[in-house]
Point group: C2
Chain length 175, copies 2
């Protein structure tokens, strides 16, 4: 057993090199290379770091931007609709919207027809900030888009949407 360990040890790792040889060694992804989830998570992780940094000057994070972008595209939507579409959940949305209201970026207007419901809107200030954040977010993807032709990027998005709708349709069928 010990001999085995030592053998693989010397085979796999060159301990004669400085310590940073291990630090910079690239692992073989093995079976993970064939898993869509692995590739998606890796890419999303790198993008997430950039977006976090890009949004930091605004004092907000991705969830708040997503909420604002969806409210802008769907003025008067309810919190529950927003939660479902934004991939958030309705409980988390409460604190998030409280924050946006305190900042003066969004308002909750109780519906006069269904008093349970809040109709959500952006303020002009909220729209302005949302657009600035959108520009900042797009910049984080800029270098990536330079590595693709416009046609390729369009196809890339089409693939992502197609994959999403295949799974979403299957989930709806199961209900």
């Amino acid at each position: 057993m010990k001999a085995d360990t030592d053998a693989v040890d010397s085979m796999q790792v060159d301990d004669t090199k400085p310590a940073n040889s291990a630090s910079t060694r690239k692992l073989d992804p093995g079976l993970m290379a064939h898993r869509l989830s692995f590739r998606l998570r890796g890419l999303l992780g790198l993008l997430g770091e950039r977006v976090l940094a890009a949004f930091a000057p605004f004092g907000l994070r991705s969830g708040s931007f997503t909420a604002m972008a969806l409210i802008k595209a769907n003025p008067g939507c309810s919190q529950i609709e927003l939660a479902r579409e934004g991939g958030l959940d309705k409980s988390s949305l409460v604190a998030l919207l409280n924050d946006l209201e305190e900042r003066g970026y969004a308002i909750r207007a109780r519906s006069t027809r269904d008093k349970r419901r809040s109709n959500l809107f952006l303020t002009p200030e909220g729209e302005k900030v949302m657009h600035e954040m959108f520009e900042a977010a797009m910049k984080t993807e800029a270098s990536l888009r330079e590595g693709f032709t416009p046609d390729e990027m369009q196809l890339f998005f089409a693939f992502l949407e197609r994959a999403f709708f295949i799974l979403a349709a299957e989930d709806r069928g199961k209900d």
Copy 2:
């Protein structure tokens, strides 16, 4: 103000329909449709649910499978290498590997050359379970792959890898 709210209320939401008209209404993604992160997150979310269910019978989750797959592809790798490549962090890996060792799926072998280091290996039992989990994971992507031609799927993966490496290379340049 109140007139505005009511006007948009009646414009955007048909309150005369049953309550579930709001529940099933599809929101416009708006600007989010142009954000790579949004599409990635949506797809990863749907896949994640399926993978979670597929791995449940094994009593393990994605992180454990990822670790096992990477150890299998890189026998004798260190925890720190595994953390970097798997997108985990070295602290989380400690508990994860404790669990895999208790189950008899993995072993930590202290390197005889650098006594700080653990060389990681899968046991035969661990390899068996890892392959079963891989099959289960691939099944969750099966319906998705049916919606793509082999060429399209290959291109899809190539796009994801290219995007990842563009950003990863840029990050390395910044250090």
